[in-house]
Subunit: 255 residues, 2 copies
């Protein structure tokens, strides 16, 4: 049985930054072809929210928690990311991939902004059957905060750790993690600290990139490597070819 692949599609890769709530249909159709042509893979896909959901989440301050005053934001934010998920699933199915959407709101629970549980047996069974589960950053109910936002990157970290994925790739709109415009080929918990402290990592890293690296370093510390590459290199990643991006890896991993 083929090795399981966990592929993250960045929100900024599949939606248009210039207008809220609009997908990048050209990009999605490219990805659908790339993934559809490699259907033999046992694969789970996670996508970010991009211009769907982020504006709503920030208007209602869902990240900080939910109470009586902003409860209405839960439905509105979730509906926005659900609608993106439907479009991603539709696009993938058009490319011949047996994609089915999975919503973290329905099956996950968080505590103080961190995922403490997400049902995974259904995801494993889906992959066994040849279905590609497609999850997304979502509103998740939270024992401390009422509700919070769990990002696609945090989902990748959780699934990578709990389900034992050996191949984890994050497709982004840059060629990798950049240091003064050049891709850093390898980040480890050791050099990440110095890069960050030395401010070298900071100028090229958006909040999103920083969050992404932090989640992937958590995987690296657990001995699980992940790869960050430009979305146009997704086929290379899936084919295990060089993709010119960044590998985030732990001490114990000597590849």
């Amino acid at each position: 049985m083929s090795e399981m692949v966990l592929l993250k599609l960045g929100g900024s890769v599949i939606t248009r930054k210039d207008s809220a709530g609009v997908i990048d249909s050209h990009r999605l159709s490219f990805l659908a072809d790339v993934i559809g042509a490699r259907q033999e893979r046992r694969m789970t896909i996670v996508h970010g929210a991009g211009s769907f959901g982020h504006p709503e989440a920030s208007r209602y301050r869902i990240m900080e928690g939910v109470g009586a005053e902003n409860i209405g934001g839960v439905y509105i934010t979730h509906s926005a990311v659900r609608s993106l998920n439907e479009k991603v699933v539709d696009a993938l199915r058009s490319g011949g991939c047996e994609a089915v959407g999975v919503h973290p709101l329905s099956g996950a629970f968080a505590c103080d902004g961190r995922l403490v549980f997400l049902e995974c047996r259904n995801l494993a069974k889906m992959m066994d059957l040849g279905i590609v589960p497609v999850l997304h950053g979502d509103v998740v109910f939270d024992g401390e905060r009422g509700a919070t936002i769990i990002s696609g990157d945090q989902l990748v970290q959780y699934l990578g750790r709990i389900m034992g994925f050996r191949r984890i790739g994050l497709a982004t709109d840059v060629p990798g993690i950049l240091d003064n415009g050049r891709v850093i080929p390898v980040i480890t918990p050791q050099n990440a600290g110095s890069l960050t402290l030395g401010d070298a990592l900071v100028p090229d890293v958006t909040g999103g990139m920083r969050g992404k690296v932090m989640e992937m370093l958590e995987l690296a510390r657990a001995g699980i490597r992940s790869e960050i590459f430009h979305v146009e290199r997704t086929g290379d990643f899936l084919d295990e070819k060089p993709h010119g991006g960044t590998i985030i890896t732990g001490e114990g991993d000597d590849e």
Copy 2:
């Protein structure tokens, strides 16, 4: 804090039997008003599939399991019940109820046709926050069968047992469980046996009704009572008034 209420809306109550994939909008709007006027209740709603999903599930024989030959039926059946769920949530929201849809496919797992896990902490938190989670009979992945159909009634039985609901009501299109056209006021595991064996229960009980009674008897054996009534009496049930229906109760329950 008010007692938690679990309300099941039968599939045949909210959809039109005469045409597949059509909701009974008059009925849904009535229910939205009844529920919207009683928002102080901490409530979870479960609905059946009715004419959404049942035709698809049976065409693809999802109930018996899923493999390579009928895998395409998973998405089609799930999409049908999802679409009904969206309409139910929309109708409830129009009535002023803070409803949010929850899909068992995303957060549940089954074994040989029976639910073995459904995340409930999110449901409890939603009710704490004043949100009404709205679940539905759905395709659920299954360790033995690949996937199966978990009915709304089975969800009620699971949630009633695991979440400790004390008030469980099933709104149907008949006034209660009938014996020769008359409502049986009380069914217990004891008299149910004799009714069934004596064939008295059989003529008026559809497959759906029989399944419903079996699930509720499982609750009764665990000391949890449930009530089955005509959908027009939903307000009476919520107000704890007589509704003229059937109470299914266990030995230990002397109400």
